[in-house]
C-alpha cells in the first residue's frame, strides 16, 4: 500500500486533499452556527446607536439556535452551543445566564419536537420560537424587577417579542439560502 503511494504521487496528493476537504467540511458543519452566534453577538454589541439593537441581538441569537437545532441538529452540537453561549453572555446586556438558559431550552425543545414539527410546518415552529423569546423576555423582566425592587413597564417585552417574531422569517429564509449554498459547495 505504501509502495503504491510512493509510485503514484498524484493519487496520494488527491487523497490527502480530499481528506483535508472532508475535515474542513466536517469542522464547518460542526462550528458554523456557533461562530455565527458569536459574530452576531459581537457585532450587535458595538455601539452603533441603532434602536432596538440589543433586542435584535437576543432575537437573532435565539433564532439561530432554533433554526439550526430544528432543521440541521448535526450542525449545532450541544457542547458547541454551550461554549458559544458562554461567549455570547459576555456581550449581552441581559442578566447573566438568562440568554444561555433560553438557548439551551430552545435546543431542547427543537430536539424533542423535531419530528412532529417537521410534519406540522413552518407556522408552528414560528409560534414556538415566539414562545421561547417570550419566556426569555419575561425572565429578564422578572430579574430586573427584583434588581430594581419596583414595577417596570411591560412594553419592552412586547417590543422584544414583536421584533423577534417579525425578524424570524427573514432569518429563516437567509439560513435556508445559506444552507443550500453550503450543501451545494460541499457536494462539489
Amino acid at each position: 500500500m505504501v509502495m503504491r503511494f510512493e509510485h503514484g504521487g498524484l493519487d496520494h496528493d488527491a487523497l490527502e486533499g480530499a481528506r483535508q476537504r472532508k475535515l474542513m467540511v466536517r469542522m464547518r458543519r460542526k462550528f458554523f452556527p456557533c461562530i455565527i452566534m458569536v459574530v452576531l453577538a459581537v457585532i450587535l454589541s458595538t455601539p452603533f446607536g441603532i434602536l432596538g439593537q440589543m433586542e435584535l441581538q437576543v432575537a437573532l441569537i435565539l433564532g439561530t439556535v432554533w433554526f439550526w437545532s430544528l432543521y440541521r441538529p448535526a450542525f449545532m452540537p450541544l457542547v458547541g452551543l454551550f461554549c458559544g453561549g458562554l461567549i455570547v453572555e459576555l456581550f449581552s446586556v441581559n442578566p447573566p445566564g438568562v440568554l444561555l438558559f433560553w438557548m439551551l431550552v430552545a435546543y431542547g425543545v427543537a430536539h424533542g419536537c423535531r419530528v412532529s414539527l417537521s410534519r406540522q410546518g413552518f407556522l408552528l415552529a414560528w409560534s414556538l420560537y415566539g414562545l421561547i423569546v417570550l419566556g426569555e423576555a419575561l425572565t429578564d423582566w422578572v430579574l430586573m424587577v427584583i434588581r430594581v425592587r419596583g414595577a417596570l413597564s411591560v412594553y419592552p417585552i412586547v417590543f422584544q417579542e414583536a421584533l423577534a417574531v417579525g425578524s424570524y422569517p427573514f432569518l429563516h429564509i437567509l439560513y435556508l439560502w445559506g444552507l443550500s449554498v453550503m450543501e451545494k459547495h460541499d457536494r462539489l
Binding site: 454589541s45 458595538t46 452603533f48 446607536g49 446586556v93 441581559n94 442578566p95 447573566p96 445566564g97 413597564s153
Partner: protein, 311 residues
Amino acid sequence: MISIHTRQLLSGLVLPVFVFLAVGIILTGQIWPDRMAQLRMGAVRDVGPVYQALLFPQRQFHKWQLTLQGVGDLLAENARLRKENRKLIYWYGEAQTLKQENTRLKSVLHWGAEGARDYVSGWVVRDETGPYLRAVLLDVGGHHVTVGSLAVDEVGLVGRVSEVGPHVVRVLLIEDAASRIPVTLQNSGGDAMMIGDNTLYPRLMYYNQNIHPEEGEHLVTRAQTAGLTGGIAVGRVHYLAPGQPVVVPDAALEHLDLVRIFDGDFMPEGPVSSGRVREKPPLLPEQHDGNTPSTWQSLRRFLPFTSLQNG
C-alpha cells in the same frame, strides 16, 4: 469500555447538566452582579479594537455627512457663526468682569483655594442600553476612577460610574431605573431626587412640598460628602402632567461618544476656607488607648465645612 447504553444515558444527561449550569450562572449573576459585570467589562476591553474597527465606517460617514452639510450651507453657516461670535465676545467680557469680582470677593472672605477638578475623558466602547438597562462602557485607559464618580458629556450630566474594571468603567445613565441622583433646584435652592425609570425623562421626586419645582427651572447636582460632585448641569424641569415633574436632560444621552468622568469629591459649594472657623466640635470621642486620631482624621468628616488650619 463504556457500553452503548451507558453512552446514551450520559449523552442524555449533558443537556440537563448544562441547563443546571446556566441556572447556576443566573443565580451567581443575581448574588454577585459585580463579578459578572467585571467579566463583561474584561471582554469589552479585549474586543475594544474590534469595536473601533466596526465603528470606523459609521464615524467616517458621519464626518462626511457633516462636511457635506457644511459645504451645502456655507453662507448661512458663516452668517450664523459671525452672529454667535459677537455674542461670545460679549459674554467673554461679562465672564472676565465676573471672574475679577469673584476673586475680589473671595479675597475679602479669605476664601481658600478650591480643589482641582480631576477628570478623565473616555470613548464609549459599548452601549449597554437594553430593554431594562441604560448604561455605557467607557475606555479610560489606566486612569484610576472611583465608583460613584459623575460622568458628563460636553453639555450635562450623563450618569454615575457603577462598576470599575481594568481600563473600562461602566456608567449607569440617569435614565436607568436604578439611577438615583440628588439634585438642587437652581431658582429655589431646594433639594430633590432625580429618579430614572427607563424612559427618556427621569422623574423628579422628594422635593419640598412647599417649594414646587418651576417649569423650565434648571437643575444641578447636589454636592454630598459621599463623593458626589456638585454643581454639574443636569437638565430642566418639565411637567408631563400636573404634579408630575420630570427632568429633560441637558446631555445627549441617545448618542454618546466622548464622556468625561469627574473623579474625586470636588464640591464647588463650601470649599476649605482658611478664614473660617469650625462650626461644630469634633464628634469623635477621645481615645485613651494612646492611638489618638490625627487632626486630619478627626476633621475629615466635617470637610469641607471645617478649616484644617483652625481646627
